[in-house]
């Protein structure tokens, strides 16, 4: 690890450095995390810098460089920081760290964590899908088959089965040379599904989502989006989105840290409003999401949300097993 030699340019004001585990590119989750950090930096009057990493080594290098720059807070996004954030914060007790979407073991006092229960939102989307499907066949197009991605797939199908037990679900993975940005392949996968009678496809394929939307539009099927409101991208064809308000949560955490309230793990689930679906929002009517047309579905979703928040329904976390 890097040693805390005096930085050439001592920070005169506040600043925020965000380190991503991969190039931001088409990754909407990373785009959202950049957006949140940028917004928070603006609010607290800090400058903002983005360090994009390519591989584990460059994550470490970027973290070293960030530590040297002595910013107000260093934000690391995702599981990829688990190893580094176990050791580095301890070596630099005066530096504040924020990990988004995961938390290192043996959390140091100067490390704040923000994590999400996206599976709760995916479950709600599944409920909508179960209510709206006619064929009873559901599909998911995901970028790759990684454990993390199953947090969107498995609860989605569980949610659907909770309201339509005979529903079946098929996940397909884009894979290939550039799984996170291959809309043509994603579209082809979605067409494979619709060709098999699937009438609702959940998209978790990053830049491939748009390809999924095009496929369902052509096949008169419907889709779910992810991370942000994607309903407007394909008007009428997107039922709803599995929302993960990374920007909101991250921005709040940065502001807290800047205000001296550091440490701990902040878990954002349905209860905290950190995840959700557009059907729960006040702006549903203007969201462009197709679910707005089905008031009964919206009502049911709200009820299930309440059940989850109240603990009457527990959503299994695929990662917990």
């Amino acid at each position: 690890g890097g040693t805390g030699q005096p930085a050439a340019t001592a920070p005169t004001g506040k600043n925020v450095i965000l380190i991503t585990p991969n190039p931001v590119g088409t990754n909407s989750f990373l785009q959202l995390s950049v957006k949140g950090a940028e917004a928070a930096a603006k609010e607290i009057g800090a400058s903002f810098k983005l360090y994009e990493s390519k591989d584990p080594t460059s994550i470490a290098q970027n973290l070293d460089a960030a530590v040297r720059a002595k910013p107000t807070v260093i934000v690391g996004v995702s599981f990829s920081f688990d190893d580094l954030f176990t050791t580095v914060p301890k070596q630099h007790p005066d530096q504040q760290f924020l990990q988004v979407d995961s938390c290192a073991e043996e959390q140091a006092a100067n490390l704040t964590c923000v994590s999400f229960k996206e599976h709760e939102a995916a479950y709600l989307a599944g409920v909508e899908a179960g209510l709206l499907t006619e064929s009873g066949k559901l599909g998911v197009v995901a970028a790759i088959d990684s454990p993390f991605v199953h947090r969107w797939i498995d609860p989605f199908l569980d949610g659907a089965k909770s309201v339509k037990p005979e529903a079946t679900g098929t996940p397909l993975y884009v894979g290939g040379n550039n799984p996170f940005s291959d809309p043509a392949r994603a579209k082809s996968q979605a067409q494979t599904l619709t060709g098999q009678g699937v009438d609702i496809v959940a998209a978790a394929a990053s830049a491939g989502n748009q390809g999924v939307f095009e496929a369902v539009a052509a096949a008169k099927a419907k889709a779910f989006g992810v991370d942000v409101n994607q309903c407007a991208q394909s008007p009428g064809n997107v039922i709803d989105n599995v929302l993960k308000h990374v920007d909101v949560a991250e921005s709040a955490a940065i502001k807290d840290i800047a205000a001296g309230k550091a440490g701990g793990v902040k878990v954002y689930g349905l209860k905290e409003g950190g995840v959700g679906v557009n059907a729960l929002g006040d702006d549903l009517a203007s969201s462009g999401c197709a679910v707005a047309a089905s008031a009964d579905v919206v009502a049911k979703v709200k009820q299930v949300r309440d059940d989850i928040v109240a603990g009457r329904v527990t959503v299994a976390d695929p990662l917990a097993g």
């Binding site: 931001v24 590119g25 088959d145 098929t170 993975y173 809309p183 082809s188 067409q191 095009e214």
Partner: protein
């Protein structure tokens, strides 16, 4: 079955166009590994021009023009200056990746993916009144891609310039000594490959889908390079290689639904292509060369 065939044709068309370009270069004696970057550049410029003009066809024309120009970055160093075409290709591929992402932020103001309901995509043949079972769902560029293969096969076998191009690739000095201007033909082949990659990129971004996203060529150019290496100077063989690859890929998708791991589906087209190659080579080999 028809949806399967349609899926294979759609997925294969951009690769076929790029491979055809690469094949022309290989026939002329230039190894073109720049197809990946040129496909990406073609996809980007297609979306850009479609967005600016509101016409998908002008998007196609813009992509062909811009990618032909982009191919100068390969043809001038490799043909005029005789630089190693593989190194130059590594450079231009990287450049295309950076340039498209950069220009995207500059022009569309957003990173990642650009799509908009207003973006004009290519119509399907069905929309143009030609509704046949497999063909109906395709963009007009798909039949164009396959017709171009036939045209290239015929051209290389029967047209004067095609014959000359083959000669140049086989023995440049011999071509020079009968008065052919070798660099001229090679420039033409590399720029022609650029035009074909422009067409392929346009099909990818306005035909297969209607959007641009960073790095969306996603290895198709490399598949095209493999097809060229397999096909030598025979366009039909190149087409066959692309179709075999595309069919294996589409089959992989379907088998994923039955529980085949994603990684196996990823590997399948490559393994099947290699297997086909082994079978053909073993059948062709009559006696071991000592």
């Amino acid at each position: 079955m028809t949806t399967f065939l349609a899926a294979v044709l759609t997925a294969t068309a951009p690769v076929v166009l790029a491979a055809l370009g690469g094949l022309l270069c290989s026939v002329s004696g230039v190894f073109n590994m720049a197809l990946e970057g040129q496909l990406l550049w073609g996809a980007f410029t297609a979306v850009l021009f479609s967005h600016l003009t509101g016409s998908a066809w002008l998007g196609v024309a813009g992509a062909v023009l811009c990618t032909t120009l982009y191919a100068l970055l390969l043809s001038v160093p490799a043909v005029t200056f005789r630089a190693d075409p593989v190194v130059v290709a590594v450079g231009t591929n990287l450049l295309a990746l950076g340039l498209t992402a950069f220009l995207m932020r500059q022009i569309f103001g957003s990173g990642g993916t650009f799509s908009s309901p207003e973006l004009a995509g290519l119509p399907t043949l069905a929309a143009l009144g030609l509704d046949a079972p497999v063909a109906g769902s395709q963009s007009p560029l798909v039949p164009v891609a396959f017709l171009l293969v036939a045209a290239a096969a015929w051209w290389l076998g029967h047209a004067r310039s095609g014959l000359r191009l083959r000669g140049i690739g086989q023995h440049a000095e011999a071509a020079e000594s009968i008065g052919l201007r070798v660099p001229l033909y090679r420039h033409a082949a590399v720029l022609g490959a650029g035009a074909l990659c422009g067409l392929g990129g346009a099909q990818l971004a306005l035909g297969n889908v209607t959007l641009f996203s960073e790095g969306m060529s996603a290895g198709r150019g490399w598949v095209a390079v493999v097809a060229v290496m397999l096909a030598g100077s025979r366009p039909w063989l190149g087409l066959a290689a692309c179709l075999l690859f595309g069919a294996a890929e589409a089959l992989g998708f379907r088998l994923q639904g039955l529980g085949l791991p994603q990684q196996a589906a990823d590997a399948a087209p490559y393994l099947i292509t290699l297997l086909a190659l082994v079978v053909v080579a073993a059948a062709r080999r009559k006696e071991a060369p000592v």
